[in-house]
Symmetry: C2
Subunit: 205 residues, 2 copies
């Protein structure tokens, strides 16, 4: 029996190259979960095979900027000339249905969400060591040493923001990390600030 019927907003973030996407995938591959992706809004053109409302909500620049003015994003950013954002109303809708909504986003975006959703759960994914992260960044193979170094420096500056998160999870093994995130979701549903209201109602009956 759950004393909290609403879903949780789970923000998975962490320094560049730590493996956020892989961990999120492992999470969604687990059994019996109640997780949902949040579909982003973007101004970039759809690629072949991309479906509006599934891969992204595709809008034009004027529409996106109107949404910014109306404060309808949990977070947004401009990247190589296109906007990307997480629409607040869609997320709230899923949470009301009891879905756990997972955002896998960069550190900048996560801190924007923090401002708007006090109730969300913030998880900072970290590498087992700096060396491991450097190797992971190099392994992609397609980047020049200059680009690898630049991304590593960016990661190093992001390391310092861990204290802004609720949890720090080491991505030493992708399944361990996913298991721990699942435990965090289960535990957070029982936290007193989420359960006390329904509990008090129950005890008045």
């Amino acid at each position: 029996m759950k004393l909290n019927d609403r879903g949780l907003l789970i923000v998975i973030s962490g320094p560049s190259g730590v493996g956020k996407g892989t961990v999120r995938k492992a999470l969604f591959d687990m059994k019996n979960h109640n997780l949902e992706y949040s579909v982003s809004v973007t101004t970039r053109a759809p690629r072949v095979g991309e479906v509006d409302g599934k891969d992204y909500y595709f809008v034009n620049r004027a529409a996106f900027e109107e949404m910014i003015r109306q404060d309808r994003f949990l977070e947004y950013a401009e990247f190589v000339g296109s906007y990307y954002g997480t629409p607040k109303d869609k997320v709230e809708e899923m949470l009301d249905k009891g879905k756990e909504v997972v955002l896998e986003i960069e550190v900048d975006g996560a801190l924007q969400v923090r401002e708007r959703m006090k109730d969300a759960v913030f998880i900072f994914l970290v590498p087992p060591s700096k060396k491991a992260l450097y190797e992971r960044l190099s392994r992609r193979g397609t980047d020049t040493p200059e680009i690898v170094n630049k991304r590593f420096q960016k990661a190093e500056s992001e390391f310092k923001l861990a204290y802004k998160y609720d949890y720090i999870v080491v991505n030493d093994d992708v399944n361990n990390a996913a298991d721990r995130i699942m435990a965090i979701i289960r535990a957070e549903h029982a936290r007193t600030q989420r359960t006390i209201q329904k509990y008090q109602q129950l005890m008045e009956e």
Copy 2:
């Protein structure tokens, strides 16, 4: 990989008759746990078969009161003329060894621990409904209706203290409750306040 090597002090409490003992037993029956009981100190006489240092630490009244004066208890109480207390040094010793120390105690005792161990995890076990609790209290069979009513009234006054705890867990099914407590233990090990120090050391190497 864990960023917190120290064990957690897990305080399981809740209103009289909610089934704390049964849930604690289910917890210790689970596989791969790292849980330890805390052995209490008492002034009552050992019963046949009870072993000093295993069932209780048996001491005389003067020794117990000296321990109170030295603030060596996490909590203590007097019950039917005998003292019972949780010795702080033994608990700290087990935590340092990385054990999760479980205290299954009454609400009064839990609030005493709260004062002394800011870092402990406080779980309030609750019945699925008032009716269920009343039935459970009646079912013991050995008590008169007056005693059942008295215990139920005590439970009702304890219901109000839920807000002092970190988590509220419903004991609708003993295995569900134990599973959720295990998830809480896993999650708490990843909480930023417990992990940030070791994480920062790691990122300085």
